[in-house]
């Protein structure tokens, strides 16, 4: 549905924005960034896809869970539980737009963790979730 992405690489190139000055601009880079942040709290931290998968399915407020909108297999399109609007796949392998912008990823973690778990997610949890999502293949 979003038409923008096709033009984004060209635009970025023209504007000279490609250098990664803003930090993590890829899912793998973002995972590394969350891991570094988590290791500041717990030096032994290593992102775990298994923990991420469990969190992805964990029920929170009103029985909501990440998989509720993003489906149990996040390489396919989901839909918003309330509005019914289709949601593009969440796994980067199925949708390269996902997690390629750190600020946008943070915005959605902030909103959605509050909606589902009624609290912010930690850097460790975000790393785990991302490790899980990066493992998913269409």
């Amino acid at each position: 549905m979003p038409k923008l992405p096709r033009q984004t690489p060209l635009l970025a190139l023209l504007l000279g924005l490609l250098p990664l000055h803003a930090g993590a601009q890829s899912a793998a880079g973002l995972l590394e960034r969350y891991s570094e942040e988590a290791r500041r709290e717990a030096p032994a931290y290593a992102a775990s896809a298994a923990r991420g998968e469990a969190l992805f399915h964990q029920r929170g407020k009103d029985d909501w869970r990440c998989a509720g909108c993003h489906t149990d297999k996040p390489v396919v399109a989901g839909r918003h539980l309330v509005t019914g609007k289709p949601i593009a796949p969440l796994a980067p392998a199925a949708n390269p737009e996902r997690f390629n912008d750190a600020a946008r990823a943070e915005k959605w973690f902030r909103r959605n963790c509050k909606d589902v778990f009624e609290r912010p997610c930690s850097a460790a949890e975000k790393g785990d979730l991302l490790a899980y999502l990066l493992e998913q293949r269409p």
Partner: protein, 164 residues
């Protein structure tokens, strides 16, 4: 010189009063990015300025979910919506003002989507393809681009007892 002034005027006319309900400007890329993920980027003219101000002041609890934005983004979008909102009631050209901030329960929405109108019927709303009146794109196939013309309505095929 004059043409430079004329063009925006024409565009404004085309985008014009929502009474006909057909022609609406496409949402700006930022509006669509920030307000068009969970639901379609609703045409700003579906609410008046006061209603948009209420919506934008309460994004942290937006109809039960957190839709909060960075404050600079929120301020920019609030101005965008205010500039394109429906005129307040009393202006003869104003589209009917919704009773609440929830667009899909406004008198205008309900009248436009009443049973029997344009082939609508109660069961259609409950089909998996629609699910919720806020899912504009299920029937208004060009809703994401801001187009709600009756010519671009395509009701989903009703599958009766469907399972997914």
């Amino acid at each position: 010189m004059r043409r430079a002034l004329l063009l925006p005027g024409l565009l404004a006319l085309a985008a014009g009063p929502g009474l006909a309900g057909d022609l609406v400007s496409p949402p700006s890329p930022e509006y669509r990015e920030e307000c068009g993920s969970c639901h379609v980027a609703y045409p700003p003219r579906l609410l008046d300025g006061a209603a948009w101000a209420r919506v934008m002041a309460g994004l942290a609890d937006h109809f039960g979910t957190d839709a909060s934005l960075a404050s600079a983004t929120r301020d920019r979008l609030a101005a965008y919506l205010a500039a394109r909102a429906a005129p307040s009631r009393g202006d003869a050209s104003a589209p009917p003002r919704p009773d609440t901030s929830r667009i899909t329960t406004s008198a205008w929405f309900l009248r436009k989507h009443r049973d029997g109108h344009d082939g609508l019927h109660a069961a259609l709303w409950r089909t998996p393809a629609v699910g919720n009146p806020a899912n504009c794109g299920a029937c208004h196939r060009a809703a994401a681009e801001g187009r709600y013309s009756e010519h671009e309505i395509q009701l989903p095929v009703s599958t009766g007892a469907s399972s997914r």
